[in-house]
């Protein structure tokens, strides 16, 4: 050990273990939780010590822009830190892909052209994203200063940009890139918002104090619509037209900073109607496909709907009437999308809200419920089961923590005394400008790795008494460059990294260095990225799942493909391989659970039974996906999985719940005397004591680690909301 230290003195950082207790509400406590099984005994089977971890200060980023692709039913969301997320609206709103952000990229607007995604930002560049490799494909400077808005015409041939220097720039969309075509007449103020007329011949541009209508062929400005400033103190400030929409009947709708939604006649250039909807700014507008409904988002957090209806029944003259007001946000709403059946809004409170419109969907069904997407649909926490360490992934750094210890036992629900407090061992800042895409920690705690869109970094960790040493492994195989998912084998001898075209790179780890072993490739020609990786406990199998819904199993002894699980139409959100039975357990975005035997290459008996009976309706109605599956070494019949609001232990030896039985029956089982319990218990034991769950893991010493992120913590760190005077407060 001493020899090694001397050699690697250059790369080694020495840290003293810090004693930090950053937990906010209460010190980390170890709670004794008990699950009642059918025998009703307080056996070790059902009793767990729980490490309740609340020191993961994960802070989601504000939503800045969004764009909905009608054909593929995908919503692209851009965040303030430059990250772009793709949500699949046809598969339970699952967050399919995440492209990590970058320090200088300040995305202001997003735009779909067919299946290609473009963004423009305040750094003056247009970026096209590679959705197969989850990174920017190319960037192009527009040379107009910061770009405020980007919009494409209906045919998908041209992109119009609104720039700080007052020009509207036209770019031609070519196969591999975009090319500058020409500028429109330069204006004296910045162009904040743009909207194409559906025919592609006119463009309405929102600026300071006015709206300009341009002829798209000649580039000359034809009309100037003057927008009135606010009253009182805001009369001296220019009014900013934050958003415009050009409708096919030549009506222009604008939302401005004085809180007005105005309807203009685009042909004559006159104001038809003004609606004062808020005291603050109207920041976003979105029009439905059939142009009969539009929504406006304000700084108050409200979303106001206007519909084109006739004031008297049977009359032909329709006008825009304010109909509904939704208040689903506490902070400014900066991005809106109007789909066929719902209104999607997002803003400074970082939550994505999908509000189905009740005149388009059936009431009181799963479809009509309000959805709030708060946390990412993938795991940001890695746990080293043998060493009791946690690795937290932030966009710009990683934190390694050691869990605390406690003595003694207690009754369920008790808080146990903490003997050693949890400690932050390492805080590692990423190098360069790119944000961290994925990270991994080996089960023994000796290796740590993270990747960005441009590089992969691997570190060796050494523990001597109270000191921890971290050494960077300098020479990595060339193939390890752009990786989407990382996973260590259970004996920490290999690192698996998912690369392009659904392939997986296998790298061997010895002492201080790593050598390339093999690249595992699936038979299918899928170009989609692998978003889930799982290495089995015995080191024989590797399971991968990609965004084409394909699940491949590789035999690691022979280093080749073993089998492919039959494709199910919903995305796999979590996969795991049982250590003893070698059964693959998969949970999908529509909450379906499958179990597949790797030896027999077919679905197991239990899985067929579950499919035949069907899952309980309450289980299927859950709106957050299961992000991790793990097993209980002391009871092979247990499968432990969790989503944002609950964690569940599925006991395969117990009967499955029928449609009419109570699903959340832990409370009833506790209240019922022991002999009765056998009648009422079923396989799904659900615990909802801990929320919002970011991670649930089982350590080697049979204690549960539960990482919670209270919403109150996030809310208290958000920027200032508007001041509203409420009656009686």
């Amino acid at each position: 050990m001493m020899m090694l230290e001397k050699k690697n003195r250059k790369n080694q950082f020495r840290f003293k273990v810090l004693n930090v207790v950053p937990d906010v509400f209460q010190p980390v406590d170890l709670v004794a939780e008990k699950f009642i099984d059918c025998k009703g005994n307080r056996s070790k089977m059902g009793e767990f010590k729980v490490h309740r971890v609340r020191f993961f200060d994960y802070m989601p980023s504000a939503i800045r822009a969004m764009a909905f692709n009608r054909r593929s039913e995908r919503l692209a969301v851009a965040r303030a830190d430059g990250a772009v997320e793709i949500f699949n609206f046809s598969d339970n709103y699952f967050q399919e892909k995440v492209i990590p952000g970058q320090d200088s990229r300040a995305v202001e607007a997003l735009c779909w052209v067919d299946q290609r995604l473009f963004s423009a930002g305040l750094n003056g560049e247009i970026t096209e994203y590679d959705l197969e490799n989850l990174r920017p494909r190319c960037t192009m400077a527009a040379f107009g200063g910061p770009i405020w808005t980007i919009s494409s015409n209906n045919r998908g041939t041209m992109l119009a940009l609104g720039c700080e220097d007052g020009t509207v720039k036209m770019f031609e969309v070519l196969e591999e890139r975009v090319q500058f075509q020409r500028n429109f007449d330069r204006q004296k103020g910045r162009i904040i918002s743009l909207s194409w007329h559906p025919s592609g011949t006119l463009i309405a541009a929102g600026m300071m104090d006015m709206i300009r209508v341009f002829d798209a062929e000649t580039g000359h400005a034809t009309h100037r619509l003057l927008v009135e400033r606010g009253v009182g103190a805001s009369k001296s400030r220019e009014v900013v037209v934050w958003s415009v929409a050009f409708l096919s009947d030549h009506t222009i709708v604008s939302g401005d900073s004085a809180g007005k939604v105005q309807i203009w006649d685009g042909v004559t250039g006159t104001l038809l109607r003004t609606h004062l909807v808020t005291k603050w700014d109207v920041l976003a507008l979105s029009v439905s496909q059939d142009q009969s409904s539009l929504v406006a988002g304000t700084s108050e957090g409200t979303v106001i709907q206007f519909q084109l209806i006739s004031s008297t029944v049977g009359q032909q003259d329709k006008e825009w009437v304010r109909t509904r007001t939704f208040k689903n946000h506490s902070h400014d709403v900066r991005a809106l999308a109007h789909t066929e059946t719902a209104v999607v809004s997002g803003g400074m409170d970082t939550q994505l809200v999908v509000r189905p419109l009740l005149d388009k969907v059936e009431k009181n069904t799963q479809e009509s419920s309000l959805r709030k997407i708060v946390f990412p649909h993938r795991s940001l926490v890695c746990c080293a089961k043998k060493a009791g360490l946690l690795l937290f992934q932030f966009p710009e750094h990683l934190e390694l923590w050691r869990l605390g210890e406690s003595e003694g036992h207690g009754k369920p629900g008790d808080s146990l005394t903490v003997k050693t407090k949890p400690e932050k061992l390492i805080q590692l800042k990423r190098k360069g400008e790119d944000h961290i895409c994925c990270s991994a920690l080996s089960p023994c705690g000796g290796w740590m790795a993270y990747s960005t869109v441009s590089s992969v970094r691997l570190y060796r960790l050494q523990y001597n008494n109270n000191n921890i040493g971290i050494t960077k492994v300098s020479r990595l195989p060339k193939d390890l460059c752009s990786v989407h998912q990382l996973c260590f084998s259970s004996d920490s001898s290999r690192l698996f990294a998912s690369s392009s075209h659904s392939s997986v790179i296998v790298v061997a780890l010895n002492q201080q260095e790593c050598t390339y072993l093999h690249t595992l490739k699936p038979k299918s020609s899928s170009r989609q990225p692998v978003h889930l990786l799982f290495a089995s406990e015995d080191g024989k199998w590797l399971a991968t799942a990609n965004t084409d819904c394909e699940i491949h199993i590789y035999n690691l002894d022979k280093l080749k493909l073993h089998c492919t699980v039959p494709v199910y139409s919903s995305y796999p959100t979590a996969i795991a391989i049982h250590p003893l039975t070698s059964n693959l357990v998969v949970v999908h975005a529509d909450q379906q659970i499958f179990e597949y035997s790797l030896e027999q290459k077919e679905y197991t008996e239990w899985s067929r039974k579950l499919q035949k009976l069907g899952l309980h309706s309450l289980w299927l109605e859950r709106d957050t996906p299961v992000t991790h599956i793990t097993f209980n070494p002391r009871n092979p019949a247990h499968i432990i999985l969790h989503d944002m609001f609950m964690f569940c232990i599925i006991d395969q030896s117990l009967p499955l719940p029928e449609a009419k039985t109570l699903l959340y029956n832990q409370m009833t089982l506790r209240s019922v005397p022991e002999p009765e319990r056998i009648r009422h218990s079923h396989a799904f034991k659900i615990c909802k004591n801990f929320q919002h769950l970011l991670c649930v893991r089982l350590l080697e010493d049979h204690s549960l680690v539960v990482v919670e992120r209270p919403l109150l913590d996030i809310m208290s760190q958000l920027p200032a909301p508007v001041r509203q005077k409420k009656f009686a407060t």
Partner: protein, 216 residues
């Protein structure tokens, strides 16, 4: 009006006085010619002299400035270093500008501003003590503009006149209107409202002290 006419009459009378009684003088052509030439020469002389005087003045002033400049300037070798690097950068940007498709006013301003900046570097003052000059990583125009644009959004949404409140207020409003009314968030969270908590602690101690005094 009356004054003016009087004055005019006086002048006229004076002129008349001088020339009325005597016969006109006889001035030969040569005399008047020489006189004219002399006066012209004189005029030219004075003009030249004035010019020379001005020149002298200017030269002296220039010298004075140069003296002062010499005193103010940094040592020559340091200036050389700055000049060489700053001259490279404007040249680079000019090349890039030529490669661009559009040459708007923006680019011209860019070049002007860069030149100004390199010019400013030359006129720095010598301060007391030892110091070294290091060329900083020059922030590109794009990031300045980006910062300005972000400041614009920040000032429009959060600047003066935007009527904003704090997260604490929002949370306490929610608390007041909620079903379960609990303690204010600033007392529940540990790292909030430290001053208020300290104040509360002090008051508590004072009150306890008073109680003890009044009891004994």
């Amino acid at each position: 009006m009356a004054d003016n006419s009087d004055k005019q009459a006086e002048m006229f009378s004076l002129m008349l006085d001088s020339s009325d009684d005597e016969a006109p003088e006889e001035v030969t052509f040569e005399d008047s010619k020489t006189q004219a030439l002399r006066s012209m020469k004189q005029a030219l002389d004075t003009a030249r002299r004035e010019k020379e005087l001005l020149k002298e003045k200017r030269r002296k002033r220039q010298e004075l400035f140069q003296e002062q400049k010499k005193r103010k300037l940094l040592p020559a070798d340091v200036l050389e270093e700055i000049d060489s690097t700053s001259s490279k950068k404007p040249r680079q940007s000019e090349d890039e500008a030529e490669e661009e498709q559009q040459k708007g006013e923006g680019e011209k301003e860019l070049r002007k501003k860069k030149k100004k900046r390199s010019g400013k570097l030359a006129h720095s003052r010598i301060l007391k003590g030892n110091y070294t000059v290091a060329t900083l990583k020059e922030r590109s125009m794009a990031s300045f503009q980006q910062q300005a644009a972000e400041d614009f959004i920040q000032s429009r949404l959060y600047g003066p006149g935007s009527c904003r409140t704090t997260s604490n207020e929002l949370l306490s409003l929610q608390n007041k209107k909620g079903w379960n009314k609990s303690a204010a968030v600033q007392f529940v969270k540990k790292d909030w409202a430290c001053k208020e908590k300290a104040k509360a602690e002090k008051l508590k101690k004072r009150w306890i002290h008073k109680q003890q005094i009044s009891s004994c």
